[in-house]
């Protein structure tokens, strides 16, 4: 239900700003500003949303995940998964050419997929695909060593976009693509590092041709500066409006604020191998002690929502759990039961400037816990140092309580749960920094990877999440919302939950 509601809200957002009913005007350059320079424009090297957002205008994936999070044909027109789940056959679109004139065919797909298999960052495809066969000119077959149900959503991720095999063949060893040649509606034009990336209309695009002549992605790290640029009209759309500025921006004439859910869950992890978090009562008490709703409302300005599962509602496999309602009295009782004396000190490590209002949220948590007799000692760390500190194997770990976020970019519960809560994934192997282990949860998460039936998968995830919820290896906080803003003259922009603003079908109403 909650998922439906959210999707409905999301769709409304898109319709509202799509400018339906008006005739799109041709031409012009749209400027979109965001905070960080892409690290590369090579699917093999990128890890960040900004890089994915730029790349998706230039290079396309086999399967598309639309803004309502449904899988749609893109470069593959249809696909079939074998009964045993170990073979996936993709039928490719005919008559598509890369920007350099190279035809898009099975050989091109094989070249790209084979490259991902040996890549550093193709973690999305990497797990199970063993070989790729070009069956005929427009059919490819992926052979898996065991079924991997989330594969199709993984193939929809922009990090596995198709580049011209000619470009890949010409690339010197150890180099990454900086000027991608794809099949998309826009062609790469120019990248001035630290300033902007510019893409221009691909007049030979196989699908509906873009209205715009070009799109410029401006890199503007300062939140305040992005806002000013939008107000002066120097840019058409910006990402990440600080929550406290959103109400003011909404009042600026010619500007509208766009609220949409993100896919990032924020949680406070407990090191369950260390006292006092070895005791489930303590972990539950911490969950009861903090008013998550108030944090979302007061600190995040209402963008996002309090967690009622370890993943957020838009993710496939989500089933809501009974929330730990704010109840300081219950928290005090649980702590007393667990024999935790009043004024007990716990160290809490957290980053700053990484997640929306992260440090402020940690301070709020400190105040809530003081109220139930726990003294949190906050240790604020710079991101790179924090990562290194948090990535220790369990025997060397010194953290007790930490803040982290997780973007389930594949929009499938597998990616949102397995790496974080399966006991084979304790850092440094995976990303499980709470060192949580529950054999039943492990078995459920493994099973859900390998069966194809969506209904059955959802059941398995529901069971796994209800156990995780009761075990409370985390203080379940919230999922982030995204606050973007744009000029009203910018029509047809799509604000995508993957933290993208897409200009594929955008136009400027001058």
């Amino acid at each position: 239900m909650a998922r439906k509601v959210l999707v409905a809200v999301v769709s409304l957002v898109f319709l509202g700003i799509a400018g339906l009913g008006q005739t799109p005007k041709l031409g012009g350059e749209m400027v979109i500003a965001f905070g960080t320079d892409p690290e590369a424009l090579d699917p093999n090297r990128i890890t960040s949303a900004p890089a994915g957002m730029v790349l998706t205008h230039i290079a396309e994936t086999l399967i598309l995940m639309d803004e309502q999070l449904k899988l749609q044909p893109l470069l593959a027109t249809s696909w079939t998964v074998s009964e045993d789940g170990k073979t996936v056959v993709l039928n490719l679109r005919k008559g598509v050419k890369f920007h350099d004139g190279t035809p898009f065919d099975a050989a091109a797909v094989k070249a790209n997929l084979d490259r991902f298999r040996t890549a550093t960052f193709a973690f999305l495809l990497y797990p199970r695909v063993q070989t790729v066969d070009a069956v005929d000119e427009y059919t490819v077959r992926l052979n898996l060593d065991m079924p991997f149900a989330p594969l199709l959503s993984h193939l929809s991720h922009n990090f596995v976009a198709m580049l011209s095999p000619k470009q890949l063949a010409a690339l010197p060893a150890g180099q990454f693509v900086m000027d991608p040649v794809g099949t998309g509606p826009f062609k790469f034009d120019k990248w001035v590092r630290g300033e902007y990336v510019r893409v221009v209309k691909n007049a030979d695009y196989w699908g509906d041709k873009p209205y715009l002549d070009s799109v410029v992605f401006r890199i503007v790290p300062s939140d305040a500066t992005r806002l000013v640029l939008l107000e002066t009209g120097e840019v058409h759309a910006i990402m990440r409006v600080p929550p406290m500025d959103a109400p003011r921006v909404a009042k600026v004439r010619g500007v509208e604020v766009v609220n949409l859910p993100g896919v990032r869950t924020i949680y406070i992890g407990f090191n369950v191998t260390k006292y006092p978090f070895t005791d489930v009562r303590v972990r539950q008490a911490f969950n009861y002690a903090v008013d998550k709703e108030a944090i979302v409302k007061e600190i995040l300005g209402g963008a996002g929502g309090a967690s009622n599962a370890p993943i957020m509602p838009l993710i496939f496999g989500y089933t809501p759990q009974e929330p730990y309602k704010y109840d300081p009295e219950k928290a005090r009782l649980l702590l007393k039961d667990a024999g935790i004396p009043k004024g007990y000190k716990v160290t809490f490590h957290h980053p700053t400037g990484r997640y929306v209002m992260d440090a402020a949220i940690c301070e709020a948590i400190q105040a809530y816990l003081r109220d139930v007799g726990i003294e949190l000692e906050l240790v604020t760390m710079e991101w790179a140092a924090y990562l290194a500190f948090m990535n220790k194997p369990v025997a060397e770990s010194t953290h007790l309580m930490y803040m982290l976020g997780w973007g389930t970019v594949t929009l499938d519960a597998d990616y949102g749960l397995f790496s974080l809560l399966h006991s084979s994934q304790w850092v440094p192997v995976g990303s499980a920094r709470s060192y949580y282990k529950n054999d039943t949860v492990d078995a459920l998460l493994e099973a859900a990877r390998t069966i194809a039936d969506p209904g059955a998968r959802k059941d398995l995830y529901a069971r796994a999440m209800s156990l995780i919820w009761k075990d409370a290896p985390w203080l379940f906080l919230h999922y982030e919302g995204q606050i973007n803003a744009q000029r009203t003259m910018a029509k047809g922009l799509v604000h995508h939950p993957r933290e993208y603003i897409l200009a594929h079908k955008a136009w400027i109403d001058r």
């Binding site: 590369a40 973690f123 590092r193 630290g194 500066t225 790179a384 990562l387 500190f389 995976g430």
Partner: protein, 306 residues
């Protein structure tokens, strides 16, 4: 003088060598790991290990240092760990905007700073003196990001005179260079004023006045010329500070300069880029200092270079 300049340039070599050792060591002493930082909080161990190998970080540190200095001598600053781009290209691309911004600010600072200082000293305890010295105090103490945003709000959002941010035309240069210049104008103004006041007390000034030289020439020719040496020193130091200290201005005005590159690279633990940027800025510092020393002779012919 040429001999002196050559000797100073030769002395710069050990200085810069020391810089390489310091920056190489310091950047590696920071907690954190470039591979892990690039891979992020959602990476698997396999990814991080592959990346570490690709980056050449699995080699012992002293081997890495020898390789770095060896490449440096051949004019090769290495490759960015994050983007795999040549560091020299990346640093060069970012150094020019910073140089442009610093020079513009320096010109503003000299013009306004010296003028305000000279007039204040010529008419001490006047309304102009008080006003300009209070303004200087404000200029010195206003945080750069605040000043920048205020100028942006007034001149871009309200009045629409200048573009708010970015680099391109001369109009883009005005707000950031004023912002960056503010504290230097203030500093130079106060410094010029006090130096001038001191010089104006000397007997030769009284002599000049007694000879009937017009007051304006007393101030400009007799006093300012003699006050210039400490002012030139301060200006040289400010220039160095402008080059390396423009990071806040660069961030507020989205100026693609070397300060931002350095901060981004430190945060990403992109060792080669940090090293390259620091060496280039250190080199610029050495040149500026040399330039200042040579200027002394022009400002005051009594100074001899031995």
């Amino acid at each position: 003088m040429i001999q002196y300049a050559v000797r100073r340039l030769l002395l710069a070599i050990p200085t810069l060598f020391g810089v390489t050792l310091l920056v190489f060591g310091m950047v590696r002493m920071l907690p954190g790991d470039p591979a892990l930082t690039l891979a992020g909080a959602q990476a698997t161990q396999e990814m991080v290990e592959r990346l570490r190998q690709e980056m050449g970080l699995d080699e012992p540190v002293h081997i890495q240092y020898i390789r770095f200095v060896g490449d440096l001598v051949r004019g090769n600053l290495g490759k960015s760990l994050r983007t795999n781009h040549p560091v020299a290209a990346e640093v060069a691309q970012r150094f020019l905007p910073t140089l442009e911004l610093s020079l513009a600010s320096l010109l503003l600072a000299m013009a306004f700073g010296i003028a305000a200082g000279v007039v204040s000293a010529a008419k001490p305890y006047s309304v102009f003196d008080y006003t300009s010295m209070v303004a200087a105090l404000v200029g010195l103490s206003a945080p750069v990001f605040w000043l920048g945003l205020m100028l942006m709000l007034l001149f871009s959002v309200r009045l629409g005179w200048f573009p708010a941010a970015g680099r391109g035309t001369l109009a883009h240069l005005i707000l950031p260079s004023v912002t960056l210049a503010a504290s230097s104008i203030a500093l130079i103004a106060r410094f010029t004023r006090s130096t001038m006041l001191e010089v104006l007390r000397h007997e030769y000034i009284a002599t000049a006045r007694a000879k009937g030289v017009r007051e304006i020439w007393v101030v400009l020719r007799h006093a300012l010329r003699n006050a210039l040496i400490p002012i030139v020193t301060i200006i040289g130091l400010r220039f160095g500070a402008l080059l390396s200290g423009a990071v806040l201005t660069e961030t507020v005005f989205n100026w693609p300069g070397i300060g931002r590159l350095m901060v981004d690279s430190i945060l990403a633990r992109d060792y080669p880029v940090v090293q390259g940027a620091v060496i280039v800025v250190a080199g610029a510092f050495v040149f500026i200092n040399l330039g200042v020393d040579l200027l002394y002779g022009i400002a005051n012919p009594r100074i001899r270079y031995e």
